[in-house]
């Protein structure tokens, strides 16, 4: 699994790093951690910028999670970013698996979209704080990125672990990667898994029902308890609003997805920006 983690200097980014380090303990993922130099600090030496200092601290936190376990990364003795080109700087902790810290001087959203196109990660993880409407320095970086990239996105908000991961399912194609990602998160949070089929006029399409059954059997074969539930599309919005107060919302969004028709971009932005729930967009 390839994970791209986007960070800034705020506490939620530290929390994202802790979560990703826990996932990587199980998955030995290839990880890129990416941060951006603040406009005011662009003329300073990269290693003295606040983002470089924060990222060095994140790397130390990351390495400390491997105290007693075999570590697939090699943490350098000198935490020093070196220049890749005039706008990018690298600190590598790669070993058997890749762990790169990249600092960019470019505009965040475009750079992140480019990075996703280059690296094709399975997951992009980004943190934000609901009290600031999930904004990064007054810009809606997390929600904009979540809408623009082609990979799955995890927007992590509160430090409270969700009790249930609620996965909304329509007639979209379900990938093995997305199921494994959900497994990882369910294990990480010790959360219940709930698969919600979207019905239209209280009837579920055969394809949705078949997919629900396949998912149910997949998890039952792995001894992972799973709950199935149905929600009619007419009350989907109120359902998501309720769920987003305490559980983690996972939505499969893809080319064949009719969830994209039911849940507008504004609704997804609302879930990301205005609710306390961690949101997982699966693609």
């Amino acid at each position: 699994m390839k994970i791209l983690v986007i960070v800034d200097e705020n506490p939620y980014s530290m929390y994202v790093i802790k979560e990703i380090s826990r996932i990587s303990l199980n998955t030995w993922s290839d990880i890129t951690i990416m941060g951006f130099i603040d406009e005011n600090e662009k003329h300073r030496d990269v290693n003295s910028t606040s983002i470089a200092q924060a990222m060095v601290e994140y790397l130390q936190i990351f390495s400390s999670s491997y105290n007693d376990s075999f570590c697939p990364y090699t943490f350098p003795k000198e935490m020093h970013f070196s220049s890749l080109d005039k706008n990018h700087f690298l600190l590598s902790a790669s070993g058997k698996k890749k762990l790169n810290l990249v600092i960019s001087k470019n505009e965040p959203v475009a750079s992140i979209v480019n990075k996703v196109q280059q690296e094709r990660p399975s997951l992009l993880a980004i943190g934000c704080d609901k009290s600031y409407n999930c904004q990064w320095k007054n810009k809606k970086v997390p929600s904009t990125v979540a809408q623009k990239v082609s990979c799955s996105v995890l927007v992590v908000k509160e430090t409270k672990n969700p009790e249930t991961i609620v996965c909304c399912l329509d007639n979209n194609h379900i990938t093995q990667t997305s199921l494994e990602l959900i497994n990882q998160l369910a294990t990480l949070y010790k959360a219940d898994l709930k698969i919600v089929g979207i019905a239209e006029n209280n009837l579920m399409r055969d394809r949705v029902e078949n997919t629900m059954k396949e998912i149910m059997l997949y998890y039952l074969n792995q001894d992972i308890p799973i709950w199935l539930e149905v929600v009619d599309k007419s009350i989907l919005s109120s359902f998501l609003n309720q769920v987003a107060q305490k559980d983690m919302v996972a939505l499969w969004l893809g080319k064949q997805s009719f969830l994209e028709k039911f849940i507008s971009k504004e609704k997804i932005n609302h879930l990301i920006n205005d609710t306390p729930s961690t949101v997982l967009l699966l693609r």
């Binding site: 089929g197 029902e209 709950w227 199935l228 539930e229 929600v231 009350i235």
Partner: protein
Amino acid sequence: MNVLIYLDDNLISSISLRYICAQARFVPMSIRPFHVEVRGQRHYPFGVGWVRRTWENTVKETSREFIENFIKTEIHSCPGLLTAKIVVGDTETELLKEIKTGKYDLFVIGMLRSFGFYSFYDFLNGSLIKQIKLPILLVRNITHYKSVYFLIDRYTDVHAMLQNYFSLYKDLPYNIFFCHYAYNDQETNEFKNKLIKIKDCFKDFELDISKVIQLPTSVEESAHLLRTGDMVVASIEKNGAKTAITDILANIPNSCLIFWK
């Protein structure tokens, strides 16, 4: 135990069949799958002439093939599973007819939990429930927990409930927990006194008095707590009146065994 299970070839039938077959590994039972093929052609009454009868038989046989294939693909072995009975007609009418003529102890039907939980009350208020006397096992999800939660409040006749349960499930080797819902603090205190009185009743069934859980006043929280039971057993009124007990049953994601008061 003679069990009647209603099956279609859909997801919830798959869940309910797997669920009852898991119980059949512990509890001796004969399970009769039952399917009603809804009338496709309304302009001729069924079975009124040899031409119609032929058509009816064809529909029935096609349907039988469907359901038997469904059962075969769903489950490799299910102790006590009988051949499916297929009829053509109106679902509720045919189900009632079968329940009345067959000697069944339990009716099993699947129902996925739905947000807003109106379907649960629609089900309770439906004509099928109004006329049915059998206890119903409403299957919602496949669970592998080893406990059964008895959902009780101050109106519950605990002794009758235990008697009904053990007449069906005396061989089910699961732990039994009593989960008491109190509508207010006064009831919580009253229940403490009531507990002493029903202690003897517990002894009759060799149950440990300590296995009593006081549920929180929030229906949603209670339902969340109860989800770790393989099934929740409750005794409710047939008129479908909303109570905390029915609200909890509507909210739980796991299966419930319903006895009628």
